[in-house]
Each structure stands twice: as structure tokens, then as C-alpha cells.
């Protein structure tokens, strides 16, 4: 009996990716010239456990590859080999290659053999060739030479592959009970036919006479020939399901010897030849079936998509805390139950005490559960040293990345969604922010630029700052460009903050500086929109010649939000507290009509556009007298201040965000829904969306 290994695959992949990350960060430390045997050991351990694991699970491609890496690392560890720049680069390349392989295997796709072979060749050259090479050799030249050789080798290998891998001869001899396991050879053949041109020749010597024939037994065996550029693994994969139920022999066509399967001794019950003929007549139909390309691709896609479900690693401390809380709640509940039995009025105070306790425990419990979803921001940050390393080499810049506050915890969803905006911002800093070494020296700055990535908690928020000591933003240039693009009027006085805000405007392209590093089509406006969709905001502080700081404020969690409930007619809406600046009691007279275009309110010398919630949401109900007065909630969305005219403020509360789209659809001006204390549903306003909506 075999154990189903696939249940461990997910864990294996997670561990592999963690191992790869550890190796990567170790290699980057080595890259800085900081050579430490402990670091080499860490890298070695990473490689070793990946090799071991993949061997166990039968991912031989990975195991073989890792073995070469391990040999190289082993020599480094024993001091038999110098740690050279080129070796580190090669190893970094192999980490990428391993990651690709593992991702491919995880998604049940085929491993890109050519790229693996190429990386393997580079590794082998590093292992055999340069062990005697002097360390002083210019690292860049070194690598490029390696790559040239690698290319050649790959070509040669590929040619070789073409010669031998033109096709496969498969001897497929199922055991009698193959059909009982629910497997149908026709299905296998159909899949094979998708890989290449399939010719199937059945052997029907074993088929017994009609009277002995058990239709549930599979008496036929096949010699199959598949022509095409197919890897053995692909064929093996098809036969994966029937592995235990058949004899299988796969040989490359070029070298294929006649099938070794001993032609079954002339069937014992061959005396009656008719039934055999009947069956052989059935055969052509089967082959015809096989020829039809079965459209099963969509099936595969669906399978891959289903794999995406994530898992999360949680500290046992957090789980212990959670279990403690649950214990407390159970105790409180039983206490309340006791009060409830034979309840008399004199127990009211006891009841109240119990309820207060229950409330506290519930809140703690909520906190602990939310904590489980919290991950250290290092999950995102850890990818950046590599990014900075690669890009700074490419740009010929000397840049150090400093990470501060990597252990700051933030909601898992935020971690997942913040990555892309951060990558974009860091690329920007690398490309446009930090100057070339010569330029820096001329400006009297140290040759090496610094980018600091900093995370910390402030209030109910997490703040992520990207600080560079580069050239900073040039206000005059920004202004000139904005005027040129017609985004702002000439002679408008803007504050520094407003000028920096310009770079977030859609269409404010920095086209002249477009490179392959930044300007990949994700503009700053997209960055800002992503961050706002997370309920956060972004601001820039910059000084020309000294550097730029970009600060991102994000809520700690996306599942719960501090909200202000407001009344509009008989309806209740929730305004996210983060977007509220202030609330003012107003009357009709305080609003100024602007030539048919709407209304404004003058707030301390600033005119705010006013959105009447009653009108925009078509609210008919409620007290008509209140139509002309109410509360103006001043909110900020997408950098624009704006007033929402509502009937009344109801109260502040934490609300649990529920998706409106799960069963319904997206509604303009609404970001989600929540359930109020009385069980009714209230909509959460999407402030930036409302602002956009009202502008149109």
C-alpha cells in the first residue's frame, strides 16, 4: 500500500520557497563581500533540504539540479573554493531557476527544460572550470563568458535532444483488473494523442474465448508509438494513474528495441478464434476515437486556478492566546447560563456584570483572531534586496538598501496587495531617485546611495516609508510639465504638497525617462489608486538634491473598519472614519449655488463641492423639513476635499466589512456593506468613488 504523497506537496512547496528565500538573502549578504561561514551554512542547508524533499516526492529534475548547487556550496563551505562574485551570481541565477521549476511543478505544468539545461550548464562550468580561476578576474566579464559557453552548450544539448526525442515506444500491458479501478485505456490514448501522433497496435492473443470472457477484465495489451517532441515525464504523467495496474515500458523511438514484453504464450484458450476477431473488430473504432483531439485544456486550466487557495503560517503563541480567549468565553457563557436559570430581578446586577465580561472577551477574541491574520511586513520587504541588487547592477549605480521595522505586523491581505505598488515605488527611486556615482560625488554626496524602507505603526495605521537620498523632485520641472500637459492653469499658486501630488495625476507621464526598469505601464496614479483601494493614502516629501520620502499610510486590517454612521432619510450609511476630516452643522443658506453646476460650501476660505446624499442616492423617505439642513461631513478622497450633506450623524462604531459583490454586484459609490447591531444591512460609502461620481 502506498501513502498518498500529494497531501504533503503543499507543505513541501511552501518550505521550498522559504528555503529559496533564505538562500537568496544569504547570497545577497555574501554579495556585499561579507563572507561568513555561518551564512554559507544557511545557504547550504536551504539547498540540502530542497534536494532531500524533492527526492522524496520524486521531483528528480529539482533534486538533480540542487545536487550540483550543493556540490558547489559544499566546496565553498569547506574552504576549498573562494567565494567569488561570479559564483554568487551563478548561484543567484540557480535560485531563480529552482523557483521557476518548483512553481511549474506546483501548478502541474511542464518544467522549462531548455532553461534548466542552460542554468545547469552554467553551474557545471562554475563548478569545474573556474575553481582554479583567480578571484581578481573582473566579475562582469566572467559572467558573460560563462553565459556564452552556456548558450553553446544548450544548443548542443538541444540538438542532441532533437535527435533522440523524436518519439517514444511504449509497451503498455495492463493487468486484468485495470478496468475495475475505473481506468479506461482509451482515455489514456486520447491524452497521448494530444502530445503527438499516436499509433496503437493491440495484442489480443490473451483474449479468451467468448464463453470464458469476463467483460470486466482487460485482456488486451498495446504497443504504442507516439511521434513528436515529447519528454518522458509527460508520458509518465499520463500513465501516472495506472502505475500500479499495469506493466509499462517507455523507450525513445530512435533506440527503441522491439518491445521486451514477452509475447504472451499462445493463448491457452485460443481454440475458439471467433471471439478474438470480434474484439479486434472493436479495435479500429477505439483508434478512431483516439484520433479525435479531446478538448481538455480548459479542464487543466480550471485545475490550476483551483490551486491558488492560500495558507498561512501562524505562531503557536497566537493560537495559544486564541484558545485561552475561547476558554474565557466558554466560562462566561456558562456563568450567564447559571444566572438565567431561576432568574429573579435581584440577579440583574450579576447579569449585567456577566454581559460586560462577555463583551470584553468577545472584543479580545476578535483581536486575537485578527492577530492570526497578521504577518510581519518582512514577507514583502524580503524580496527587495534582490530587486535592488539586480537593478543597481544593471544601472551601474551603487545603492544600499536599508530595511527598518521588518517585524511590523500587518494584515495578510494588505501584505499581498501592497507588493506591486512598493515594487513600483522602489524601481522609481532606483531609476530616477538615486544618481550615478559620479554625479553623486560631484554633488558632494557619498558615492553609494541609500534607500531606506521603513515600516512602523502609528495610531490604527501602518506607515511604510521609502526614503532615498537621491536627487529629489524638481518642483519647477514638475510645474512646467503639468502646465505643458494642460493639467493645471498657468499662474496658479500651488503648495509644495500640491505640486508633488501632480505626479499622481493620470496622464502625468515621465515619458522621456522611460526605461525598462520604470515606466512599465503602472503609473503613479495606479499606485495611488491601489493604495486607496486598500483604504490608505500616500504622500510625498521631497527636497531637491537631498532626496525623496514617500510615505504610505495603510489600515492595519481590511476586514474591520472604523466607521461613522450617518442618517440619510430613513437609511443608514457608514462613512469610513479615515476619510472624514470634520463635520459641520449647516443650513441651506450656507450653501452657494454655482451656475447650475452644483453647490459649494465655504470652509475657511476654501470652497468645497457639496454632494447631497439624498439626491445622489435618490432617497425619498425621511423628514421633508430636514431636506434643507443637515450635517456636512467633510471628506477627502483622491486628494480632493468635498462635503457630503447628510441628515444626521448617528455614532461611531467598528464595522465588519462584508462583500456586496459576493451575491450581488458592485454599486457605484458603495465599497461594501456591513451588518448593524439590529441585524439590518448598512452600506459603506466609497468616498473616492463618490467624489469621482459627483464630478461627472
Amino acid at each position: 500500500m502506498s501513502i498518498d504523497m500529494s497531501q504533503f506537496h503543499q507543505v513541501f512547496f511552501e518550505e521550498c520557497f522559504e528555503g529559496l528565500e533564505a538562500m537568496e538573502s544569504g547570497l545577497l549578504t555574501l554579495d556585499m563581500g561579507d563572507i561568513d561561514s555561518e551564512i554559507i551554512n544557511t545557504i547550504f542547508r536551504g539547498a540540502h533540504s530542497i534536494k532531500g524533499g524533492s527526492g522524496t516526492f520524486g521531483f528528480t529534475v529539482v533534486a538533480d539540479y540542487t545536487h550540483i548547487m550543493e556540490t558547489l556550496l559544499d566546496e565553498m563551505r569547506d574552504g576549498r573554493r573562494q567565494v567569488t562574485q561570479s559564483a554568487v551570481d551563478v548561484l543567484l541565477g540557480s535560485v531563480d531557476c529552482l523557483r521557476e521549476m518548483l512553481t511549474a511543478i506546483q501548478n502541474e505544468q511542464d518544467v522549462d527544460e531548455a532553461s534548466v539545461a542552460k542554468h545547469k550548464a552554467v553551474l557545471e562550468i562554475e563548478l569545474n572550470g573556474s575553481s582554479s580561476a583567480t578571484e581578481s578576474a573582473a566579475p562582469v566579464a566572467h559572467v558573460s563568458v560563462d553565459e556564452d559557453i552556456a548558450d553553446e552548450i544548450t544548443e548542443i544539448e538541444e540538438e542532441a535532444i532533437e535527435d533522440t526525442e523524436q518519439g517514444w515506444k511504449i509497451a503498455f500491458c495492463p493487468y486484468l483488473d485495470l478496468l475495475k479501478t475505473g481506468n479506461d485505456p482509451v482515455r489514456l490514448f486520447r491524452e497521448l494523442n494530444e502530445l503527438g501522433d499516436l499509433t496503437a497496435t493491440p495484442n489480443i492473443q490473451d483474449v479468451p474465448g467468448l464463453y470464458e470472457l469476463d467483460p470486466e477484465e482487460c485482456n488486451i495489451s498495446w504497443d504504442l508509438k507516439v511521434v513528436g517532441d515529447i519528454s518522458e515525464a509527460e508520458i509518465r504523467e499520463i500513465f501516472n494513474w495506472v502505475e500500479g495496474d499495469c506493466e509499462l515500458e517507455i523507450q525513445p523511438l530512435a533506440k527503441a528495441k522491439p518491445s521486451k514484453k514477452p509475447a504472451p504464450p499462445p493463448a491457452v484458450k485460443k481454440d475458439d478464434s471467433e471471439p478474438a476477431e470480434i474484439i479486434s473488430e472493436v479495435k479500429p473504432k477505439m483508434v478512431a476515437d483516439v484520433k479525435k483531439p479531446a478538448p481538455q485544456e480548459s479542464d487543466n486550466e480550471a485545475k490550476t486556478a483551483a490551486k491558488v487557495s492560500g495558507s498561512i503560517r501562524v505562531d503557536t503563541d497566537k493560537i495559544d492566546a486564541l484558545i485561552n480567549m475561547v476558554g474565557e468565553v466558554v466560562i462566561t457563557q456558562s456563568m450567564l447560563g447559571l444566572v438565567g436559570e431561576n432568574f429573579t430581578m435581584d440577579k440583574v446586577s450579576q447579569l449585567k456584570r456577566g454581559l460586560a465580561q462577555l463583551e470584553r472577551h468577545t472584543r479580545d477574541l476578535q483581536q486575537s483572531v485578527m492577530n492570526v491574520r497578521m504577518l510581519p511586513i518582512s514577507f514583502v520587504f524580503s524580496r527587495f534586496p534582490r530587486l535592488v541588487h539586480d537593478i543597481s547592477t544593471k544601472l551601474d549605480k551603487k545603492i544600499v538598501l536599508k530595511l527598518v521595522g521588518e517585524n511590523t505586523e500587518v494584515d495578510k491581505a494588505v501584505v499581498e496587495l501592497i507588493n506591486d505598488p512598493l515594487v513600483h515605488l522602489i524601481r522609481n527611486s532606483l531609476d530616477h531617485g538615486i544618481e550615478k556615482p559620479a554625479e553623486r560625488v560631484a554633488a558632494g554626496k557619498p558615492e553609494t546611495g541609500t534607500i531606506e524602507l521603513k515600516a512602523y505603526h502609528r495610531g490604527g495605521h501602518i506607515v511604510i516609508e521609502i526614503i532615498d537620498d537621491g536627487r529629489g523632485l524638481d518642483k519647477d520641472k514638475l510645474l512646467a510639465k503639468a502646465i505643458e500637459k494642460g493639467l493645471i492653469e498657468e499662474n496658479v499658486l500651488l503648495t509644495d504638497k500640491q505640486i508633488f501630488e501632480l505626479i499622481f495625476m493620470p496622464g502625468f507621464s515621465t515619458a522621456e525617462q522611460l526605461t525598462d526598469i520604470s515606466g512599465r505601464g503602472v503609473g503613479m496614479d495606479v499606485v495611488r489608486r491601489n493604495i486607496q483601494s486598500l483604504g490608505g493614502n500616500i504622500e510625498i516629501i521631497s527636497e531637491l538634491g537631498k532626496g525623496t520620502t514617500i510615505a504610505i499610510h495603510l489600515p492595519l486590517t481590511l476586514a474591520i473598519l472604523d466607521g461613522q454612521s450617518v442618517a440619510v432619510g430613513d437609511e443608514t450609511y457608514i462613512v469610513p472614519l479615515v476619510s472624514i476630516i470634520e463635520s459641520i452643522n449647516i443650513t441651506e443658506k450656507m450653501l452657494n449655488k454655482v451656475a447650475g453646476k452644483g453647490e459649494t460650501f465655504r470652509l475657511r476660505n476654501e470652497y468645497l463641492p457639496v454632494i447631497r446624499m439624498r439626491e445622489i442616492f435618490n432617497v425619498q423617505s425621511g423628514d421633508a423639513i430636514k431636506m434643507n439642513e443637515g450635517v456636512l461631513v467633510v471628506v477627502e478622497g483622491q486628494g480632493i476635499l468635498c462635503g457630503l450633506l447628510v441628515d444626521d450623524l448617528l455614532g461611531q462604531q467598528q464595522v465588519v466589512i462584508k462583500s456586496l459583490e459576493a451575491n450581488y454586484r458592485r454599486v457605484e459609490g458603495v465599497s461594501g456593506a456591513t451588518i448593524l447591531g439590529d441585524g439590518s444591512v448598512a452600506l459603506i460609502l466609497d468616498v473616492p468613488g463618490l467624489v469621482r461620481f459627483s464630478v461627472r
Partner: protein, 172 residues
């Protein structure tokens, strides 16, 4: 799990009917007309309760309610079919239906006058719908079936509950 139990349900029901091509429908009344929906699509039947209105959506989408923690939209079938409006009373019924939209399952409630019966129908007895003059456009109707001299119109749940695309903000 859910799949398995569902399969079991279907099996039991086939056993009970001893018919391979029998289907069960939940029938309900809208005014004087009688409609039916595939019973396997019915999640539950509830009484009417006030909804939270959703702004700027078609009039027959009455709003959303809280159904054990999930937000579920409620559609008024009378208004959907342009029948005369009826007052909501405590006897008004909401049938909660499951619908699949692509590979996603949604849950929605429809307001009907009253639930009548569970009817078992032989698939062969279902007639295709002619182009007839009710206020229901043909597209929602899968077929017609006669039960005890009454005509029941069988509705296609997926088509019925497919939400019309609103003119959404295109920048999203």
C-alpha cells in the same frame, strides 16, 4: 461534502420517483399565474422582511438583507415581470435561490405572492413555451407543464437572476 450529500439527495429522490427522468419543481403564485423553479435550486423559503435599499439600481432589485451573515439581494418577481404591484404583508414569501454565474455561485431571494406546492414532473411532459401573451418575456421560461388542469410555467433560474449590467464607472 456538499456535492456528495447533494448527489445523495438526487438519488433518494430518483428512488422515490422510480423514474429516471422525473424532475421536481417548487411552484409559487404571482397574481393568478403559477410558476415553478427547479427544487434543487431552492435554498430556503423565508417570510418577507424589510430590506436595505440599494441606490441607483433597477426598480425590481428591492435591496439587500442579512442572511446569517451574508449580504443577499432581494428581487421582486412581480415587478420583474411587470405585473401589478402587491403590498408586502407578513405573508409575503421570499424564495432564496442559488444561481450560478460562470463558475461562481450566488444566492438571491425573490419575492413571490405565495408558495403553492412541490410538483413532480416527467421530463417528457414538459412542453416548450410558445410565444404567448403573458407579461413574462419568453427568455426566462424553460417550458410549460400541466398539473391538475393548471398550467405551471417553469422558470430558468440562471437567466432569471442574471443581473443586468449597470452603466458602471469605466475607469474601474
Amino acid at each position: 461534502m456538499a456535492q456528495a450529500s447533494e448527489n445523495q439527495d438526487i438519488e433518494q429522490y430518483h428512488d422515490s420517483k422510480k423514474l429516471d427522468n422525473a424532475v421536481q419543481f417548487l411552484s409559487f403564485a404571482l397574481g393568478k399565474e403559477e410558476y415553478g423553479v427547479d427544487i434543487l435550486r431552492v435554498q430556503e423559503i423565508r417570510s418577507w422582511e424589510p430590506v436595505s435599499r440599494i441606490p441607483n439600481v433597477p426598480f425590481y432589485e428591492k435591496g439587500v438583507v442579512n442572511l446569517r451573515g451574508s449580504i443577499v439581494p432581494i428581487l421582486d418577481l412581480r415587478e420583474r415581470f411587470s405585473l401589478s404591484k402587491a403590498e408586502y404583508t407578513p405573508l409575503t414569501v421570499v424564495v432564496v435561490l442559488q444561481t450560478s454565474d460562470g463558475n461562481k455561485t450566488r444566492i438571491m431571494g425573490v419575492v413571490v405572492d405565495s408558495v403553492s406546492d412541490v410538483i413532480s414532473v416527467d421530463k417528457n411532459e414538459i412542453q416548450s413555451a410558445p410565444d404567448f401573451g403573458t407579461k413574462v418575456s419568453n427568455e426566462f421560461i424553460n417550458g410549460l407543464v400541466a398539473v391538475n388542469e393548471r398550467m405551471v410555467m417553469l422558470l430558468d433560474v440562471d437567466k432569471l437572476l442574471k443581473l443586468e449590467d449597470l452603466d458602471q464607472d469605466e475607469s474601474q
